[in-house]
Amino acid sequence: MEQQEFTITAYTENHVGLLHRITIIFTKRKINIESLTTSESETEGIHRFTIAVTETEETVQKVVKQIEKQVEVLKAGYYKKKEVVQQELALYKLRTDSLTNGLEVERIVREHGARFLTIEKEFVVIEKAGYKRETKALFDELKTYDIIEFVRSGRIAVSREQYGLGRQVAELLATEVV
């Protein structure tokens, strides 16, 4: 089976240590996590993991079952590339004087739909949200201006279904006796 890009989503309790419990499922199988993001979800008190991997679907299925098996995980699922709307955020720090050699940098920023987050005396910070190839394309163009710092966030993604796993989680919680 061919390896492809997958986004794994898990809705969980927000407990200390759960991050480790989930990542060791990948470590045990020597699977590289390309990115991992944890955040709040649409439901109060419920946390959400978004994990990006390139693997075979069969392996991803097994991993997702192991994630869902964890006591503090409510639901877990996986999506192929076309089944999610996804974004990453990148920050680029450049010397301010790189802006003074004509309007090149400004033009690049505009064309890439990026923006200046801050302009200080010594440096500027440019922000760009998009697919990895888009933030990478901007990186490649800015490279000639000496990027002092670059960072890209992990992938975040929502499913292209009207109601994804979140609906199942909400239904599950609705049956709870408090």
């Binding site: 969980t12 309790e13 927000n14 407990h15 200390v16 240590g17 759960l18 991050l19 480790h20 419990r21 060791i24 045990k28 944890t38 008190g45 946390h47 299925q61 097994k62 079952k65 192991q66 869902e68 098996k69 006591v71 503090e72 995980v73 409510l74 599950l172 919680l173 709870e176 006796v177 408090v178």
Partner: protein, 579 residues
């Protein structure tokens, strides 16, 4: 990550009155409340407040002082497996906690319910590399079903309530609760509500009746159906339903080592043992059945051999409680998720009475061949050298299949499991998944304390016995009636067998120059005997089985005997070798 309110729990209608007590007193009261009669452990600095509290609860909770934490946890495992209750194990921080890890990993892979409580340095010292500090939460995470660190006394009731609930519900497993020393000392307003529900946890999947019907349909139309059963039958207390199911359908049934004793050895539909050293027919005919019905087993590689040559012709039905086991190793046609007792009860209603005499006869024919090639000589050797099999045969003669068999890991384990007779469930205790040498002796102690009215026969090899033999002291101290049968071949026999067969007899570090085991056992005040010749064997075994105390019997067996049949590593089940 931050903290949020703990998962909701169904509140019972108990009164809301509380009492001001220490965290350690709360631990002791909770153990009593959860019905814990015996706890195994070893004290040390960071767990001392709990031990101090246990001093006041000796009437309710017997504490068994092992001689090493690994002994304590294997004893807790043996106790849990024999009694069906949750095993409880206590240890201090640092080395105390790390010494539990092998047993926790063993319990995890063999689905044994355990609650481990470890002491931890004071919360103010966490992360400072304090004396005997160790990140036991991090270390135990890959091998526990759940774990939690308590840093405040008021967390203790809820943490332990969850621990017992998670350990024993669904597919059972080990949990660990690490309690900082200050949380043990501090006071809390105590009240205890048992946990019966967690919103993020589904211990038993809801049975899908349409899947039961699909499974029944396949079974009803099968010409050569074949049942493989594992420990899931025992853990679900589904032995009766299982028997009704196979008797109604007339399906030949083979067991994994963890499923052994769920069905009487002499049952006409019990066709024997699966796997690498299992019986000939059960392995060979796996590749001839048309419908394979796996019940509470997980297709371990020691059972399946090479998966690309495993039961490719068969449609597979899998009755299983853990969704993560479905399609993990073997692709399933119909998965029936649920508790084995409930699933089988429903399935029985939909299957038609049947018999498969011709198909069953194939197993008998294979048995005949295996008997001629292997079993006859193993049980009735023609040479003067004693075999492990003939010893087990005599054990059967005097126990009548009533005893609990506890084994260590290696050749003796395979021989004992192959030839011991059982007529009662929960009677085979062994380290199946992890293959932990040193498991046997302490596990037998736990089993004897968990089932004091039953005979416990502990079969060990000379290798594994030396890994935990210090627990003879615990056997002496508790006066547990463990009968230790040492099958001494002066070798790490299983490794030696592989060296003979696959490494050109290069016996690298497998020969054992042993101590005088008789003197050792005597040093622990345990009655001993040693047999080197056949003429003394039966009398010795009779005395061994019938003695009313702990007993140590050493039998010198053939140094270079091999266990057959054998499915060599990497081969398909049908490539099983008889010699």
């Amino acid at each position: 990550m931050g903290t949020v309110e703990a998962p909701t729990k169904k509140k019972s209608d108990n009164s809301t009155k509380t009492e001001r007590i220490s965290g350690s007193e709360a631990v002791a009261r909770i153990l009593a409340e959860e019905g814990v009669e015996i706890a195994f452990g070893y004290p040390g600095g960071a767990i001392m407040p709990v031990y101090d509290a246990l001093y006041d609860h000796q009437d309710e909770i017997q504490h068994v002082l092992a001689r090493h934490e690994q002994g304590a946890i294997h004893a807790a495992q043996g106790y849990a497996r024999a009694s069906g209750k949750v095993g409880v194990c206590l240890a201090t921080s640092g080395p105390g906690a790390t010494n539990l890890i092998t047993g926790i990993a063993d319990a995890q892979i063999d689905s044994t319910p355990l609650v481990c409580i470890t002491g931890q340095v004071a919360s103010s010292l966490l992360g400072s590399d304090a004396f005997q500090e160790c990140d036991v939460i991090g270390i135990s995470m890959p091998v526990t079903k759940w774990n939690y660190q308590v840093t405040r006394a008021e967390e203790i009731p809820e943490a332990l309530a969850k621990a017992f609930y998670i350990a024993r519900s669904g597919r059972p497993g080990p949990v660990l609760v690490d309690i900082t020393k200050d949380a043990q000392f501090d006071q809390l307003d105590f009240r205890y509500d048992k946990c019966t529900h967690l919103r993020s946890y589904v211990p038993v999947p809801k049975l899908d009746h349409s899947k039961v019907k699909e499974a029944a349909e396949l079974i009803n139309n099968a010409k050569r159906p074949y049942v493989l059963f594992g420990q899931g039958v025992i853990l679900a207390n589904a032995e009766d339903e299982f028997k009704q199911f196979i008797e109604k359908t007339g399906i030949p049934s083979a067991w994994t080592i963890m499923g052994l004793s769920a069905l009487d050895t002499d049952h006409p539909l019990n066709v024997g043992m699966l796997g690498m050293h299992g019986n000939y027919g059960p392995n060979l005919l796996t590749n001839e059945c048309d419908v394979l019905i796996a019940i509470g087993m997980r297709f371990d590689d020691r059972v399946t051999g090479n998966l690309s040559k495993y039961a490719k012709q068969a449609k597979v039905i899998h009755l299983e409680i853990d969704p993560a086991e479905i399609d993990k190793n073997v692709k399933t046609e119909v998965a029936v998720l649920g508790d084995a007792k409930e699933s089988l009860t429903e399935l029985i209603k939909h299957v038609k009475p049947n018999s498969h005499d011709e198909w069953l006869q194939k197993f008998r024919d294979c048995d005949k061949l295996e008997h001629e090639k292997v079993i006859q000589e193993e049980l009735n050797p023609t040479s003067d050298i004693l075999s492990m099999g003939e010893v087990i045969k005599l054990i059967n003669k005097y126990t009548n299949g009533d005893a609990i068999l506890v084994t260590d890991v290696g050749q003796h384990q395979m021989v004992a499991c192959r030839y011991t007779k059982f007529n009662k469930s929960k009677s085979n205790i062994t380290s199946g998944g992890l293959g932990t040498m040193g498991f046997g002796l302490p596990a037998a102690l736990g089993a004897a304390l968990g089932e004091p009215d039953r005979k416990v026969i502990c079969v060990v090899g000379d290798g594994g016995f030396q890994m935990t033999l210090q627990e003879l002291a615990t056997i002496y101290q508790t006066q547990a009636k463990v009968k230790v049968l040492l099958l001494n071949n002066e070798f790490l026999g299983m490794v030696r067998q592989w060296q003979q067969l696959f490494f050109e007899k290069r016996y690298s570090s497998t020969e054992l120059i042993n101590p005088d085991f008789q003197t050792i056992a005597k040093g622990f005040y345990i009655p001993t005997n040693k047999v080197t010749e056949r003429r003394n064997l039966e009398e010795a075994i009779k005395e061994f089985v019938e003695s009313d105390s702990a007993y140590f019997l050493e039998v010198m067996v053939g140094k270079e005997n091999n266990v057959f049949p054998m499915v060599p590593s990497g081969s398909g089940v049908a490539e099983i070798r008889l010699e």
